[in-house]
């Protein structure tokens, strides 16, 4: 057994790369919020009610939480507490549907005086912890039916409640658990299947049926060719491939047709339009199309190096809605240009990569699985949020971690990250 290396200093047991990235991101966020709220609040002087001041305050609170998590709370507490916390959050998730306040069309917020928070933010943490806790139990096999059922329940229960709240964004974030399962041994075909199902679902709703048909055909041909080249050469395998492909074709056709049929004939118009809005297929009445156009104008007008800090005209006039929260990336794009955007995205990418790297390096399955959950969550937030502002994704309101204005999301992302920092520190200390 390796001797305890508890003599390693604090400095060396921490992954400073994660901490520095975190600090860089939150400070960038404050600058952007300061700039974006100029037009709305006016005046450069110090104003205790200004958004950037509030954000700084929340960063302070988050730092306190980070210190607590890293140095005070013993990491194994998370493994002990995760199940009760998971259940509690599930209860909160249901409660918010009944007692919560509606903000921006989804009833997923609790108001506690001046602070509004979303239980779904907590649920990302608890689900990740429970998932890691369950998957690290000895004897867990991802191919075993009972375990698959458990996994489906752990992820599915909060996901279904969140869907009921109308929080499409968080639901999409939940999809990132597929990457975790993939890493932990789930067949890659499941990822492909999920991807194909999403693409075909959208195609079946959005375009005439033949478009989805062509897409399905292309997928099947790709599947067939891939298996022919990489698969077994035995006769039985070949014959089975034909049969599997045929079965997939039938299943796919039924899926497309029933999706289309249910959507157009069973759902009532208001349900239909709700789905269309959620998927960004039609512009909602609040003008999601307008938002995207204005946000692209703001980002596009930044050019290579941007207009300079505080010089943005689009974001601070209020052309861009939600300029401090969901559309904060517009400020980056307009004032710092392509170079600024690239730097921010690469910083995020670095953070995610570093988390994956630390997760792989850990000998603790709990740390590894939790790390993958964390990375997947950040990745989805980055892709959906930035993708939305540049017209690649439907307008789904989720924050850009650490950058968007908002206390509860700042705190929950920080907590989520620093649990990982603490787990990594434990690994480094003891192994």
């Amino acid at each position: 057994m390796t001797p305890l290396r508890s003599d390693r200093g604090v400095a060396r047991s921490l992954d400073w790369a994660l901490i520095v990235s975190w600090l860089a991101l939150v400070l960038t966020g404050v600058l952007c919020i300061y700039s974006a709220s100029q037009g709305a609040e006016g005046g450069e002087g110090f104003n205790p009610g200004a958004r950037y001041v509030k954000q700084l305050m929340w960063i302070g609170i988050s730092m306190g939480a980070a210190l607590l998590i890293t140095f005070v709370i013993k990491p194994h507490v998370w493994e002990v507490l995760c199940t009760p916390a998971y259940i509690m959050v599930a209860v909160l998730l249901v409660a918010v549907i009944v007692f919560g306040s509606e903000i921006n069309g989804s009833k997923s917020w609790f108001r506690l005086g001046p602070v509004a928070f979303q239980p779904s933010e907590l649920s990302k943490i608890t689900t990740s912890l429970v998932l890691a806790h369950y998957m690290r139990t000895p004897g867990f096999k991802i191919t075993r039916f009972k375990d698959i059922l458990m996994l489906a329940a752990i992820v599915g229960i909060p996901a279904v409640i969140i869907l009921a709240q109308g929080e499409t964004g968080t639901l999409l974030v939940y999809m990132s658990y597929a990457f975790v399962l993939y890493r932990e041994g789930m067949s890659g075909w499941w990822l492909a299947l999920i991807g194909a199902a999403i693409v075909l679902f959208i195609a079946a709703i959005r375009w005439p049926l033949w478009v989805a048909g062509i897409l399905l055909t292309v997928m099947l041909v790709a599947y067939f060719l891939f298996c022919r080249i990489h698969g077994s050469r035995s006769f039985v395998a070949r014959r089975n491939l034909w049969i599997v492909t045929a079965l997939l074709a039938v299943a796919g056709a039924v899926y497309i047709y029933s999706t289309n049929f249910v959507f157009n004939n069973v759902l009532r118009p208001h349900q239909r339009s709700r789905i269309e809005v959620l998927l960004g297929i039609t512009e909602d009445k609040m003008g999601a199309g307008y938002n995207v156009n204005q946000s692209m104008i703001a980002i596009g007008s930044g050019g290579l190096s941007g207009k300079g800090f505080l010089q943005g005209t689009q974001t601070s006039y209020g052309f861009v809605p939600e300029q401090c929260t969901d559309f904060i990336f517009c400020t980056v794009g307009e004032e710092f240009g392509f170079l600024g955007c690239a730097a921010l995205i690469l910083l995020f990418a670095f953070l995610i990569w570093r988390i994956l790297h630390d997760a792989e390096a850990s000998r603790e399955p709990f740390t590894r699985i939790y790390g993958y959950c964390l990375a997947g969550c950040f990745f989805m937030h980055l892709m959906i949020n930035v993708g939305m502002t540049i017209g690649l994704m439907p307008v789904i309101g989720i924050p850009l971690p650490f950058i968007s204005y908002g206390g509860s999301s700042m705190l929950s992302f920080t907590v989520m990250l620093f649990i990982f920092v603490a787990l990594v520190r434990r690994d480094r200390k003891y192994f």
């Binding site: 890493r183 980002i299 995205i345």
Partner: protein
């Protein structure tokens, strides 16, 4: 171990996703410049430049309608925050009670007011406004508003000039070239000449900076569009004469019109009761009251009222008779207090000498004489039937401008009516009517209706001895040239030579003696030979209307006047002095000492509610 490649695959997936984001950013930020252009559009501010509305002058260059700036303080109660009421009261120079009252009102009715912007104080003076403008930022919710308003230096021609008001949603839908906040002429000249008066709007283009402050003029102002001021209009109205006419007509109901015969230019056109110019600039506030007034001050009587012309129409019948050759001026007809046209029915007349020739019949306004004249027109053997003779008569009458609108360059003109023979066919049966059926037409009663303007035009026609130019109130000017139809002479179908006889009769009516039966002696002006004709129009709704037309001087007439005063009795009593005073004022600039009493009597008379008196036609 299998996980290693999976880890690598996921990292590759991350890299691919990041590259997609960067590629898209590269495209919209660097390759495609559409977004930069749109951003420019977003930061450009268009500021509308409103052109000054055209000014309306009178014929002598006096300003009838001008422009002035008015400063209002507006408030949006919902936007008021942390208001220093004391400071604001000080800046605006109002007391705290006023502030409290206003703010209490806004609080009480806050749900009804909503986000509306209301006028806090109307029309503050320029100094107050400047003081407020400097400190406007201290009072969120309050803002200044500069408006251009119309001013009317003369209280003359309120109804003629009309008013402007802001366009409403309904108007904008019908006239898409207007925008909210634009003014449009609603009545009178403001409406008739809207297109000339309004000019065209321009704009400044500015760029905003990141704090929404206007920074600079875009492209050095090269793309700005200058406003084109509205065209000025010169009217044919004489402001002083119009004003004098209004004074004469105060407390009377009716019309007073003066035309320059040689040009057809309307010198004055008074409707009474009318609209004071004071209310024009704030019509919104006064509209309801005006509309509800039973005396209809917005009704433009000179061109919209229809009345029987009364005895002044005898001149037309006399002229037609001479033209047709059935009347010679020397012919005399008897009158025994009227004309017995059937065994039981008689058209009455007042007592005067009998028999009379044409001149004296005009002078005394003998009813019987003109019944004989009209009888000989309709029973003229040259025509096969009464109907045919009547049709010819109607044609003559229409050639004097009766029966249809004259074509005034002013909105809302009506045409009165000259009955067609078919109408009598309908009433009495085809060819079952004769002169006696339509005898009232002899003296300008019956089915014949005309506007006061047509009566004035008749006077101008006689003054011109047989022709008229369509009356108009826009004068030819550098800015605005008038249509050629306002230069064209319209000849009546009666030859010029016959008119001199009518003129002679009209001169005698004014300048003869009362003992001889002259009816218009009150119109006599020292040193000027006035020709006039009285009329007393019977009217089924009340007392007779008092009518008078006159022109002066007899040779080379400068002015033709018609006065039509509702329910004022004999033409010679009220219409006659009023019409002649207007002519005298125009010709001499002042009223002769000997006639001052006539003037004060006319101005002081209140004839608004005269009860019906004895019926008689003079």
């Amino acid at each position: 171990m299998e996980s290693r490649p999976r880890h690598t695959k996921l990292v590759i997936g991350l890299a691919v996703a990041v590259l997609i984001l960067l590629g898209r950013l590269f495209y919209i930020q660097i390759i495609n410049d559409r977004y930069k252009r749109d951003a420019l559009n977003n930061s450009i501010v268009y500021e509308t430049i409103y052109p000054p509305r055209g000014i309306i002058h009178d014929r002598n260059g006096e300003i009838l309608v001008g422009n002035a700036t008015s400063y209002d303080i507006m408030v949006t109660p919902r936007e008021i925050s942390s208001l220093d009421t004391l400071r604001l009261a000080e800046v605006l120079g109002v007391d705290m009670d006023f502030m409290r009252e206003k703010l209490d009102y806004y609080r009480t009715y806050r749900s009804r007011i909503g986000f509306k912007t209301l006028t806090f104080i109307k029309n503050v003076d320029a100094a107050t406004y400047m003081r407020f403008a400097e400190m406007e930022y201290l009072f969120p919710g309050f803002k200044g508003q500069v408006r251009t308003i119309r001013t009317h230096p003369f209280n003359a021609g309120g109804n003629l000039l009309g008013y402007i008001s802001e366009v409403d949603g309904d108007y904008i839908r019908k006239h898409p070239e207007y925008r909210a906040g634009d003014d449009v002429g609603r009545t009178g000249l403001e409406a008739a000449r809207e297109e000339d008066l309004r000019g065209s709007k321009g704009y400044h283009i500015y760029l905003r900076d990141s704090r929404n402050r206007v920074l600079t003029s875009y492209n050095n102002g090269e793309d700005d569009l200058l406003a084109v001021p509205g065209k000025d209009i010169t009217t044919t109205i004489d402001a002083h004469l119009q004003q004098y006419g209004q004074q004469l007509m105060q407390n009377k109901k009716g019309s007073l019109i003066a035309i320059e015969p040689s040009t057809g230019e309307i010198l004055a056109m008074v409707t009474s009761p009318g609209i004071d110019v004071d209310v024009l600039s704030d019509m919104g506030k006064n509209y309801a009251e005006l509309a509800a007034n039973p005396d209809k001050p917005m009704f433009n009587r000179p061109v919209q009222a229809s009345y029987p012309p009364g005895s002044v129409f005898k001149l037309v019948n006399g002229l037609i008779g001479m033209q047709e050759g059935v009347l010679e001026p020397w012919m005399k007809y008897p009158c025994s207090k009227g004309y017995q046209y059937t065994s039981t029915r008689k058209l009455g007349c007042h007592s005067h000498k009998s028999p009379l020739d044409f001149d004296h019949a005009v002078m005394t306004s003998c009813n019987a004489y003109f019944c004989y004249v009209f009888k000989s027109i309709l029973e003229n053997p040259a025509y096969s039937s009464t109907k045919e003779a009547y049709d010819r008569w109607e044609q003559y009458v229409r050639s004097f401008g009766f029966g249809s609108p004259l074509g005034l360059d002013y909105p809302g003109e009506l045409g009165g009516s000259v009955p067609k023979s078919s109408r009598y066919d309908k009433i009495y049966g085809k060819n079952h009517w004769r002169f006696t059926s339509v005898v009232s037409l002899s003296i300008g009663q019956g089915e014949l209706l005309c506007t006061p303007l047509q009566i004035a035009n008749l006077c101008a026609t006689i003054a011109n001895r047989g022709w008229y130019i369509t009356p108009h109130i826009i004068k030819d000017s550098e800015d605005l040239s008038i249509d050629d139809k306002y230069r064209e002479k319209h000849y009546t179908e009666v030859d010029a030579k016959h008119f001199e006889k009518a003129v002679k009769g009209m001169s005698m009516a004014v300048n003869g003696t009362v003992q001889d039966g002259a009816t218009g002696t009150m119109a006599r002006i020292p040193g000027v030979e006035v020709c006039g004709k009285t009329g007393t129009a019977e009217n089924p709704h009340g007392a007779d209307h008092s009518v008078f037309i006159c022109f002066a001087p007899r040779e080379n007439p400068q002015i033709a006047v018609a006065a039509y005063i509702e329910n004022a009795g004999f033409g010679g009593t009220w219409a006659c002095p009023i019409a002649s005073l207007l002519a005298e004022k125009y010709l001499n600039g002042e009223i002769d000492e000997s006639r001052k009493w006539v003037e004060s009597r006319a101005m002081e008379a209140n004839l608004m509610n005269v009860q019906k008196k004895e019926k008689k036609t003079q």
